[in-house]
Every structure is written in C-alpha cells, then in structure tokens.
Amino acid sequence: MKKLINRTLLFLTISAIFSLLLGFLSVVITNKTFNFEFKKYQNILIVGNSHTECSISDKILSNSVNISQSASSYFYSYIKVREFVKRNPTIDTVIISFSDNDLFSEKEKWLSSTEKIRNKMTRMIFLFNTEDYLTLFCSNPITTSLQSFIVYSDFYNLYIHRRSFIGGYNQFNKNKIKESILEFNQDTPKIDYKIAHTELKYLLKIYELCEKEGVHLILLNSPVHPVLQSHFSLIKDRNYKIASEKMTNATFLDHSSYKLDNSMFADLSHLNGTGSISYSLFLKSVFSK
C-alpha cells in the first residue's frame, strides 16, 4: 500500500508540474501570437455581457469591434478594455453594457462562482496580470487553484477561434418571446435593490481607466422587450444616479425602450439576428450624427 501511495503521489506531482509548465507556456505563446490589433478605422470597442453581445453587429457598426461575451463580469470587461486600449491607440470610445439588472447583487456570482470561473478563467488568463489572478483567487480560492492546473486547456480553442473565443457579436437565430413572456408571468423576477459591489467596483475601474487614457465611455442600456422594460422601470433611476454621480464624464445611453417587433427578440432581454440588425443600423445613425 505504501508503494502505491508513493507512486500515486509521484504521478500526481509530475502531472501537476507538467500541467503548470504547459499552462505557462500556452499563456506566453497565446500572448505573443494573439491578434490584439484593430484596423485603423476601428475606433469603438464594445465590451460587456450578452446584452451587447447580441445587440450590436460590428459588421454594421463597422468602425467598432464587439468583444462582449455572455455572462461576463465587469472584471473581465475591465481586463479586456485595459489590454485592448493599451495596444490600440485608435480606440477613442468604449461601449459597455449597462442594463437595468447588471448591478443586481446576484451578479456578484459572475466573478466568484465555480461555474463562471470554469467558463471564463482559462479563456481569459492570457490577459491577466498578477493582480487579476489574485482577485479571482480571493473570490474563489479552490476553483481558481484547480483551474490553474489546466490553464493550457483553452490554448487550442484560442488558436482556432482566435478573438471570437474571448468575445464577439453573437447573432441569435431564435425567437422564444412567447415562451419568455409566459415564463415571466409565471415566475416574475424580483427587483433586486442590493448592489453587486464588486461589479460596481470594476465598472468604476473601467471608467477611471478610460478617463486616464482619454477614451470616452458609453454606458449602454440596450433594447429590451416592453414587458421587461416596465418591470425594470423601478430600478432605472438608481442606475442613472450611479452613472451621473460616479461617472460624470461617461454617457448613459438608455435605449431600453427602442421599439422593436416581437419577432426581433430572442427573449425578453436579448435581441435576435433581425433585432440586432435593426438596432445596429439605428446605433450607426446615432454615431454618424
């Protein structure tokens, strides 16, 4: 039995060391080979969660690059803004999703939950600095430690999918608005007045970073279905207050009431392909003014 335990421990130790080395190597290679650079005419960076991911087509708003990704905490958006702005001096505007429910306290989990760390850490770690790693580690030490041994696991995906693996415009080809309304009526989500402090902290860090780099920050409340719009109206003022008091130079674009047919929604809070085309054309006209 002693021999078995010794051999097993030796095996696990060798595997762990090898994994860490492989992870380190994959981070270095990805960092060196990843295409951070935008085209010269692309001056708008779009980050955030599924709201911006599904609503803005960067093919239509052609001077923008959308690297939003669903269920992204502001922590990851901050890292993206920091790294892409640093490498692309042409960026003068950052659009970030700032929907009515983006600061609900449940969004704290978007940084610290095991599920989210498993989904995000290995695909984003090549952008991390030590502070980012420690932040994540403090939020969930066990999962972060375990994920550290498989940092290499998304190396192949990053190589194949490149930038789209960390975010991009997502054209939803579905319409489940009827089911969503039914679900909403059966189980109406509660308005959460508590704030996700970590999320707010990183949103403010994004603002500070933009201020420092001379980049204009746009907080975008993207279109939602009228059912959800009236439901969230109770919380809208709070978000507006936060934006106007703490991010004075940022622009708060509230397009939540932008009119779209039912057929243009994927669900109550996301646009589908046709909805996003319509909205992106509208946004293009806004920016061209």
């Binding site: 095996f11 595997s15 090898f18 290499y152 696991s153």
Partner: protein
C-alpha cells in the same frame, strides 16, 4: 455521482483507503454498501429505496426458492421476483411510453382521448442494470446454479456494488457474490491494473467520446442543412462516441472494482474489429447479450428446436434488447435491424465462425479479406446506429436518405477524424487483451503516456457530460 467528476476523484481514494484499512470481510462489505449508497444517493437519494426494496425482495425470494422442495412453489417465488422487478422497471421506464403509444394508436383510428393520465416520472439511473442483476440471482438460485446466500450485507453489496451499479457490466451472482463473501487482500499489481483501466476508460470517455459528441450533436440536430459527407462523418463519429462512452464506463467500472480486489466480467472486447454481426454481439455489451442468451434465448429453446423456433427466438431477444435500451420505437427498429442481420448468418449457418479469437491475433495487420469483413460489419452496425441516435424513425430515414442521395465531400466537422484514427490505432495495438490497455514495456514511455493522458483528461473534464448509457 459520475465517474468523470471531481467528486468521484475525491470519493474513490477515500473509500479505497478506508476499505483497505479494514481487515474484516463483513466490515469491508458494510463499507462497500455504504459507499455504494452514497455514490447512488449523490444523484438522487429518493431512489435508494428502490434498490433497497429490490435487494430485500430478491434476498428473501431466493431463500424461499431454495428452502421449498415443491417445484410449483419455487416457480411462484421466482415469478414474484420477476414480476416485482419488471413492474418497477416498466413503471419507471415504460409507463408514459405505453400510455402515449396507446393514445396515438387510438387517435390514428379516429378516437381522440382528451384526458391522458401520464406521469412526470424521472427515470432512476441504472434501473435497467440493477433489476436485471437481481433477477438473474433469483433465476440462478431457481435453476440450482448457485446457493442462496444468508449474508444480507454481502448480498446487498453485490446488488449495489458502486463501480457497476448504474451502467454495468451486469454482473452474475455466480461471479460477483462469491467474491463478496470471501476474504479479499490488497494486491498491488491488481490495483495498478485497475488504475490503468480507469485512466484508459476516462481517456476514452472524456477526451474521445465527449469531443466527438460536440460534433455529433450539431450534425444530428441540423441534418437537413448538411451535405451527405458531413452526415456520414456524423454517423461514424457517433459509432465511436457511443463505443468510447460505454466501453470507457465499463473500463472505469472494472478498474475501480479491481482496486477493491474484485474482478468484474469484460463488457467490450474490441467490437469494431468483428468480422460479422454474430461476432459483434459476442464483443459488444457482452454482459447484456449473454444475459439475454442465458435467461431468455436458451429457456425459449435457443436453436435446438428447429429453425423456425430459432428464428422466433432471435427476433424476440433482439427486439427486447432494443426495447431495453429505451422507450422509443427507434430502439425497437435498431434491435430489429440487428435481428435481420443476425438471422442472415444463422440461416446460412455462418453465425459461429468467430467464437473466441480476435482478428489477426498473430499478425500486425489484417489480411485483405479480414479488412473487408471488418469494414462491412462496421458499416452495417454504423447504419443501424442512425435509428439509435435519431429522435424518431422518420428522422432516421430522412438522415439516411440525405446522406446517400446528397453525398459530397464534407466541408466541415472534419476535426473528429483525428479522434477516430486515434481510437482505432490504440485499440488495434491493444487488441490481444482488453483488460490490459497501455501495456507498454518501457517504464519511462509508459509514465510519459500516463501523464499526457491524465493532463488531457483533466483539461477536457470541465463539461461533465453524462454517460450515454445512464439513460437506459
């Protein structure tokens, strides 16, 4: 609890160390029983009572069968066991299917039923496996093949032995129960063999099957818009996905049992190297096919009562086998296709040509004829998988039609070819002994391969995909 989870990665060493720290066989069995119930209850503790009741019924029924001298009474007790086990199986697995099929049948003749009493029944994991295992015990006692045990703990450990509880191999009491009753001693070599099998099984499941599933699912979901070549790839991928998924589970089960000093039966013996369908069924899900052979086919008369009886019996076991896999007509169609393919061999007296030896046992490469036989058999098996995988029989036919009539060079979904080649080569090199994978003489090379496989398993392990056979 799934084998491919962190929970199991912690559960296994804890149970293993506790188990070998105990010297007494009864206490070891209590620990096996407790571990098995924790393992099963991790999924849904409410269904533990089903295993427990099934255990209690068959324990007492077997004793009653043995005690009584009257054949009629023995038969009554046996029927009690069979009816009980089949009732819980049918209720949980087939109730809604029967009701819905009945309603469909009535509506097809113009009678529309308005209120249908269907239930929202969850299928208890592994129910098809452990009910068959306990039934076989009562049947073996009835046939005087084994003695009924009076040791309830050992019997309960045999029924719920966690490595094979939820997806087999379906063990026979004659093999597993004596091992539960006798003293077991720690054996370093056996444990290492077990760990090697676990590593290989996890690799097949997590790295190969789960990676292929990422290609198979979109292909089957969008078959209307893909070309025939891509559908063909999807079918090949599914063949290897289901093989690696299920044989991977069996390898992990056999390996885990070895760590506890228990030897389980082999369940997959390189089925895709079979030279005809009858050899395929001697190599694919062996514990189930031999169960059907011993408890249904032979009692029905097997092949000894003339050709027509033999044909009838073959149809019966294949259709039951299909139905065992799930409450859907697609599985019955799958079983029927195999019965036709098998019958063709029986009628030409060619069903017993390859009874034991693996193809090209003493050669590095197969002969041209062997390669042809293997390819044809694989092709037939693969075509039948369409019915197994599709949602309906209509979908299966449309898939095949699109595949054959719109055949073109596949332009996407080609990345799975790598996994297919990988498993073919590794199985071919290993084909002499299914219980000794990764049998490489050089220690250094072996360890490098272990470490690489382990790293790949860990990196692919985030998806936590269930094993396909969990649904059966």
């Amino acid at each position: 609890m799934l084998f491919n989870t962190l929970e199991y990665f912690l559960f296994l060493p804890i149970s293993f160390l506790l188990y070998w720290s105990i010297k007494n066989t009864t206490t070891q069995n209590i620990l096996v029983l407790a571990s098995s119930y924790v393992f099963y209850g991790w999924w849904d503790w409410r269904f533990l009572f089903l295993i427990f009741i099934s255990t209690v019924v068959d324990y007492f029924v077997a004793i009653k069968i043995e005690k009584t001298d009257y054949k009629e009474r023995k038969r009554v007790y046996l029927l009690l066991s069979i009816i009980f086990n089949l009732t819980i199986l049918i209720f949980f697995k087939y109730y809604n299917f029967f009701i819905e099929s009945w309603v469909e049948l009535l509506s097809s003749i113009g009678y529309h039923v308005k209120d249908v009493w269907t239930l929202k029944i969850i299928l208890p994991v592994g129910i098809s496996f452990y009910t068959f295992q306990t039934m076989s015990y009562s049947l073996d006692v009835y046939r005087n093949d084994i003695k009924a045990t009076r040791d309830f703990i050992s019997f309960a450990s045999f029924v719920s032995f966690f490595p094979q509880l939820v997806a087999g191999p379906i063990e026979r009491a004659s093999n597993l129960l004596p091992q539960m009753l006798k003293e077991r001693k720690f054996d370093y070599k056996q444990t290492v063999d077990g760990l090697r099998l676990i590593l290989w099984g996890l690799f097949k499941k997590v790295v190969i099957a789960d990676s292929l599933s990422l290609l198979v699912n979109p292909i089957f979901d969008n078959y209307e818009i893909l070309n025939g070549g891509e559908l063909f790839l999807g079918l090949i991928y599914f063949s290897f996905q289901i093989y690696c998924d299920f044989s991977g589970y069996s390898d992990i089960a056999i390996g885990t049992a070895k760590m506890f000093g228990v030897e389980l039966r082999s369940n997959f013996i390189f089925p895709y190297f079979s030279r005809d369908i009858s050899e395929f069924w001697r190599r694919w899900h062996v514990s189930l096919s031999s169960w059907f052979r011993d408890y249904i086919y032979i009692p029905l008369g097997g092949s000894k009562n003339g050709k027509w009886v033999s044909i009838r019996n073959i149809f019966i076991i294949f259709i039951i086998s299909g139905f065992w896999h799930g409450a859907n007509f697609t599985f019955i169609a799958w079983g029927s296709i195999h019965s036709v393919l098998y019958l063709a061999l029986v009628l030409s007296n060619k069903n017993r040509r390859y009874l034991t030896s693996i193809v090209s046992k003493n050669r590095a490469v197969p002969t041209f004829i062997e390669l042809y036989q293997i390819s044809i058999t694989f092709f037939m098996v693969t075509i039948s998988w369409v019915f197994f995988r599709s949602g309906s029989i209509l979908d299966s036919f449309l898939y095949l039609k699109k595949m054959l009539l719109n055949f073109d060079i596949p332009i996407s979904y080609r990345s799975g070819i790598f996994y297919v080649i990988l498993i073919i080569i590794s199985d071919w090199l290993n084909r002499k002994d299914e219980r000794k994978p990764l049998n490489i003489s050089s220690t250094n090379i072996r360890w490098i391969i272990y470490v690489l496989m382990f790293i790949l398993i860990i990196s692919h392990g985030g998806q936590k995909n269930e094993f396909i056979y969990f649904q059966f």
